[in-house]
Symmetry: C2
Subunit: 332 residues, 2 copies
């Protein structure tokens, strides 16, 4: 039992009585090999348990069949759902993925992009840590390495992207509330320099306008997307209008804060919440009315598909921006 160096093309060649060139041709489905040699070679490959060495192959072809994925946060269901969608699609298509954590930090993101370039990934999917861009995008452009943005756009950057149709999600959710005979609907929005927050806010306004609802500016407040601000803003809104019954909240974390406020202040009153996002938590929400469910794994798959098409040089017009329609759920 000698050291089991794993078999190479050369071993297969010897076993089958051909040259390595032929083995390689069989491997790559080159039509110029005779049927019977193909068979003979395949038998040998099976017998020896031959598996191609992707590293040697990559060195020659400069393709790694490897994709980089950058996520700003690992402990975030949304990002990870998208990552899951991406990974599924890629793996089903013979690609494997490096997933790295940019820790919401644009500089780390840039560093990771450099690292991935060095590792010679064939393409990158980025869930951006910031909507403010950075030199790495230019680097990717220069080196002609395809990349696709997910969930967020970058201001002033033309790039392929796949994201939720935030406007439509917000619009439809608010419309549902209105059609469900909601009165004043307050809004807990987010920083307007975050694209998605801005779009959701616009969706809210558009729906209100379409149905001739007066937009009360006092009932529109902006948080920072985190739990605490949801808590605080819910309080402010109720102080503003103690009769308030309907609130639209643009993300999960602020919504958690709002629910918490309601719990603690025994306002188990008739407040009904419409909001973006769902998660394992949702069963504990007590004021759920309408939920906007982002099609995250579809977004991920779509992004992966787009990236692979770019890699295979499908020459699609550039850039491609897909906005996936969210699902709106009305709870009894």
């Amino acid at each position: 039992m000698g050291t089991n160096r794993s078999p190479t093309m050369r071993d297969v060649a010897v076993c089958a009585g051909y040259s390595t060139a032929t083995i390689s041709r069989v491997l790559n489905n080159d039509p110029r090999v005779a049927e019977h040699t193909r068979n003979r070679v395949m038998v040998c490959m099976k017998k020896l348990g031959y598996r191609v060495n992707p590293i040697a192959r990559s060195l020659k072809t400069s393709r790694t069949h490897t994709i980089g994925i950058l996520s700003p946060e690992f402990q975030n269901d949304f990002f990870m759902s998208a990552a899951e969608g991406i990974e599924n699609y890629l793996r089903a298509n013979g690609y494997i993925s490096f997933i790295c954590n940019s820790r919401e930090n644009p500089e780390e993101e840039a560093e990771l992009v450099r690292m991935m370039i060095e590792k010679q990934v064939d393409g990158i999917i980025i869930i951006p840590a910031s909507s403010r861009g950075g030199e790495h995008y230019q680097l990717l452009r220069e080196l002609e390495i395809p990349y696709v943005l997910v969930d967020r756009l970058i201001d002033g950057l033309e790039a392929d992207a796949v994201l939720t149709d935030n406007f439509r999600g917000a619009f439809t959710a608010v419309e549902r509330c209105i059609l469900g005979r909601a009165g004043n609907i307050a809004l807990i929005g987010g920083p307007l320099d975050i694209t998605s927050a801005r779009e959701r806010t616009e969706g809210y306004r558009a729906a209100m306008e379409k149905y001739g609802k007066a937009i009360v500016e006092e009932l529109i407040v902006c948080g920072d997307m985190h739990v605490e601000s949801g808590y605080r803003l819910m309080g402010e809104l109720l102080r503003q209008d103690p009769q308030l019954q309907y609130v639209f909240i643009i993300n999960l974390f602020m919504r958690i804060g709002a629910e918490k406020y309601l719990l603690e202040h025994k306002s188990a009153r008739d407040i009904r919440i419409a909001a973006f996002d769902e998660s394992a938590i949702s069963p504990l929400f007590t004021h759920t009315w309408v939920t906007v469910r982002q099609p995250l794994s579809r977004i991920g798959a779509q992004a992966a598909r787009l990236l692979l098409r770019r890699i295979q040089n499908d020459n699609l017009p550039f850039p491609q921006v897909y906005r996936e329609t969210p699902e709106i759920i009305t709870h009894s």
Copy 2:
């Protein structure tokens, strides 16, 4: 502006007037290069923007500086926290990681292990999809590819592993309750073929015994770790003993179910919950008393460290099993 093929060692060699061997020596900090040549070479590398091609290097050294990580679920904060800890440590040490999703499926896990072997990872960290093992563990052993288990052990498999000290976490949490003058403490446990569930249950029993508390078998129920069973079992326990005040729940999801039951049945009564795990949800829990916080990112880092030591052939005794002590938090 010709096509910018990125510079190779050969280019640097020409630029500096040495052979590629010397360039390589500089790159690998070989002490046998003269100081001034080292400097000259470094200047050239900088000037040309040279970066070593890790693929070519890997082909020769058969080391990829790449680690595979298998997680059973991407949308699970626990696994992803551990993955984050792993990734941090690895990256800080010059390694990069493939993270793949075994989808709680042992067969996919095995397939992924094969894929990673093919990609020639230097080692693998596995959060097992099942505690029942599989041929891939043997394969890894045969090929002498180091691997470390995280969070779960595999029955009958001697392997390096890093996990929470489940027994101690449960023991200490229950002890806290007892010392906090809790009366009967019920238990919502899990399937006994899951190591962690079993250990936590044992911790509970041990604490009860130590303080001479009668263990009422009717107040010990087992769920399947999911939300629904928590919901159902909370109901059963309350029917069993309507006076029940204290419950120890061994994981987050069943705990969510339990809280949901309490919410819906207005049992805002004096029920206090001790439980494993925390998450973004925790602010919405209304019966929190004692929480066992698993040191997930430390576990991840520890696993990564152990793996790298194995790779560097630290010859530690085999196997190493680390049980990390959880943090017990008592809420006011």
